[in-house]
C-alpha cells in the first residue's frame, strides 16, 4: 500500500489486515506506562489541514508520536497557503523537506488523489517517496473514519459481515457516509441509508446499499446505527424546513433508541450537535460507542501509518 485515498481501493483482505493490525497495536500498548513504539523512528509525518478538525488531526498526530515518527502539523491558516501558495507547491515543498507521509484534509473532493498523482510523478523524477493519506476531501471520502467505525463495530458486535448498519442524516454532505457505505459493504455488512430525499446525493442508487426515508421502520432491524452531523457549514439551500423538524423526523431520541434491538450500537463520527441529530441522553448511554470510536481512531491511524511506512517501499 503506498497511499490511502479511498476505501474503494481496499479489498476485504486488506481492510481486514488493517483492522487486525489496529487490534494488535492496541494490544501491544495495553497496560503500559510508556505508550511509545520505536517502529517509525526517523520517519516524518506531516498533517496538512485546509479545514478545521479536532479529532482527526490530533489522532493522526498521536498515532505518529506513539510510533516514534516525527510529526509536523501544517494548517492553511498560518501557513504560506494564506499567501496564495497552491496545493501543489505546498505539497512539493513538504515532500522536498523529506516528508515520508502527508496526511491531507481539503474542502475540495479529489484533493488527496491530486496530491498522490503529484507524489508519484515526483517519485519518478526525483526518487522521493511520499505516501498520501486522505483525511477527508470535500464531500467525497474519509477512509480512516470508516476504518475506525468498522473497528468499533467489530469490537462491539464481534463481526461486521452479515450485520445491518443504518446510516442516518445528512448523507449528501457526508464523506463519512460515503466511505462507510463502501467499506462496510466490502466487509460484508448490509447498509441502509436513512435520510430525507433532499439530503441524499445524486447516484445513491448505484451505491451498495438500500435507501429508506422512514427511520422508525428500520430501527428494530439494525445492529448498529450511525448518526451523521447535519453539516450546516456546507448547506447553501433549504434542505429541510427547520432544525426542530429535522430533530423530530430523524433525530435519535430516547424513544427511538429503545426501538433498537438489545445489542444495537449507536455511533457518531463527531462532532455531535446534541439535541439535533442525537439526544444527549442517547449520546451518553451505554449503547453509544462514540468515545470508543475516538479511541479506535488512534489505533486505526497507527495501523495505516504502519502499513504505509514500516515495510520496504513498494
Amino acid at each position: 500500500m503506498k497511499h490511502l485515498l479511498s476505501v474503494t481501493d481496499l479489498d476485504a483482505a486488506t481492510a481486514t489486515a488493517l483492522l487486525d493490525t489496529s487490534d494488535r497495536l492496541r494490544q501491544a500498548l495495553l497496560g503500559r506506562e510508556v505508550r511509545k513504539l520505536p517502529t517509525l523512528r526517523g520517519r516524518t509525518v506531516i498533517t496538512m489541514f485546509y479545514e478545521d478538525s479536532t479529532r482527526t488531526r490530533v489522532s493522526f498526530e498521536i498515532a505518529g508520536k506513539w510510533m516514534s515518527a516525527d510529526t509536523v502539523n501544517v494548517s492553511a491558516k498560518g501557513s504560506s497557503v494564506s499567501k496564495g501558495e497552491s496545493l501543489r507547491d505546498t505539497s512539493l515543498t513538504l515532500s522536498a523537506m523529506g516528508a515520508d507521509c502527508v496526511i491531507v484534509r481539503h474542502p475540495a473532493s479529489g484533493a488527496a488523489h491530486r496530491l498522490a498523482g503529484w507524489s508519484d510523478k515526483d517519485h519518478a523524477t526525483t526518487g522521493t517517496h511520499t505516501s498520501i493519506v486522505n483525511a477527508g476531501d470535500g464531500t467525497h471520502e474519509h477512509p480512516t473514519q470508516a476504518l475506525l467505525d468498522a473497528a468499533t463495530l467489530r469490537d462491539r458486535l464481534g463481526s461486521v459481515a452479515g450485520r445491518r448498519i443504518g446510516i442516518v442524516g445528512d448523507v449528501l454532505h457526508s464523506r463519512v457516509a460515503r466511505s462507510n457505505v463502501f467499506l462496510l459493504a466490502t466487509l460484508g455488512a448490509e447498509v441502509v441509508l436513512i435520510a430525507p430525499p433532499t439530503l441524499l446525493p445524486v447516484g445513491v442508487a448505484e451505491w451498495p446499499c438500500r435507501v429508506s426515508h422512514e427511520i422508525d421502520a428500520e430501527l428494530p432491524g439494525l445492529d448498529a446505527i450511525m448518526m451523521l452531523r447535519v453539516q450546516a457549514e456546507r448547506m447553501t439551500g433549504g434542505f429541510f424546513p427547520s432544525s426542530r423538524e429535522y430533530a423530530v423526523a430523524y433525530g435519535l431520541s430516547d424513544a427511538r433508541a429503545a426501538m433498537l434491538p438489545e445489542h444495537g450500537v449507536v455511533l457518531h463520527p463527531g462532532p455531535m450537535v446534541r439535541g439535533m441529530e442525537i439526544a444527549p441522553s442517547v449520546a451518553d448511554s451505554a449503547r453509544a460507542a462514540i468515545l470508543a470510536q475516538v479511541r479506535n481512531g488512534v489505533h486505526v491511524r497507527m495501523a495505516v501509518l504502519y502499513h504505509l511506512l514500516a515495510g520496504a517501499p513498494e
Binding site: M1, A17, D20, T21, R24, L25, Q27, A28, L30, G31, R32, V34, K36, L37, P38, T39, M67, Y306, H307, A310, G311, A312, E314
Partner: protein, 195 residues
C-alpha cells in the same frame, strides 16, 4: 518469528526429501527435558513467567508451562510477546503482519521470565523481543529457551535451554511443526534452499 518456514515458498527446493531431526516422540521428550531444566534453574524464583514468541514459541511456552506443573513445579504463568514492532529489519521486507501480545495478569515486574521460541538463529528476533519485554515491565532476570539452535548468530545472544543443537548452513531451512498449528509434532531440515 525465527521459524524458517516464514517466507518459504512452500514445498519447492532441490526436490530432496526433508530430513527429520526430531520425531513426534522426540519433540515431547525434548519439551519434557527443558521443563525439568526450567524447574531446576528457577527453583529459587518466586514468580516465573514463560513468554512465547509467536506463533510456535507461544505454543511451546504453553506446553512447557503444563509440563513444569506436571513434573511438580509451580505452574508458571504464560504470555506472548510480538517482537515485530521492535525489529531492525522492517524496512528491508514488505509489511509484516503483527502477532499477538498478551501479558499474564500481574505483568512481568520482578519475575523470572523465560522467553520461548522455536528456532534460534541470528538472535535478532530475541533482541527485538527483549526490547518489547522491557517496555512492559522490569523482570528480575530473563532466560531463553529454544527448541532448536541452528547457529549463525549475529548478536551476542545465547539460549539457556536448548532442545537440540543443529549445525546448519545458511542455505538450509529448519521446519518446526507443532500439533496445535500444523497438525503434527516434527522438526525437519530442508537442504539447499534459503539464501
Amino acid at each position: 518469528m525465527a521459524n524458517d518456514r516464514r517466507g518459504d515458498a512452500g514445498g519447492e527446493g532441490t526436490g530432496l526429501p526433508d530430513h527429520e531431526l526430531l520425531s513426534a516422540s522426540d519433540v515431547t521428550r525434548t519439551i519434557a527435558r527443558i521443563a525439568h531444566q526450567i524447574i531446576e534453574k528457577t527453583a529459587d524464583a518466586e514468580h516465573v513467567v514463560l513468554i512465547g514468541i509467536p506463533t510456535r514459541g507461544t505454543v511451546l511456552a504453553r506446553r512447557l508451562a503444563a509440563a513444569v506443573a506436571e513434573f511438580g513445579g509451580t505452574e508458571p504463568s504464560v504470555g506472548t510477546v510480538d517482537p515485530t514492532l521492535y525489529r531492525d529489519d522492517l524496512r528491508r521486507r514488505p509489511t509484516r503482519p503483527l502477532e499477538d501480545t498478551q501479558f499474564p495478569e500481574g505483568g512481568v515486574d520482578d519475575a523470572l521470565v523465560v522467553l520461548v521460541d522455536d528456532v534460534l538463529m541470528s538472535g535478532r528476533t530475541v533482541r527485538a523481543a527483549l526490547d518489547a519485554l522491557s517496555e512492559h515491565g522490569r523482570p528480575r532476570s530473563v532466560q531463553l529457551a529454544v527448541l532448536v539452535d541452528r547457529g549463525h548468530r549475529e548478536l551476542p545472544i545465547r539460549a539457556d535451554y536448548v532442545g537440540k543443537n543443529v549445525p546448519t548452513s545458511r542455505s538450509e531451512l529448519i521446519l518446526v511443526s507443532l500439533t496445535e498449528i500444523d497438525g503434527e509434532d516434527r522438526v525437519a531440515i530442508r537442504r539447499g534452499v534459503g539464501e
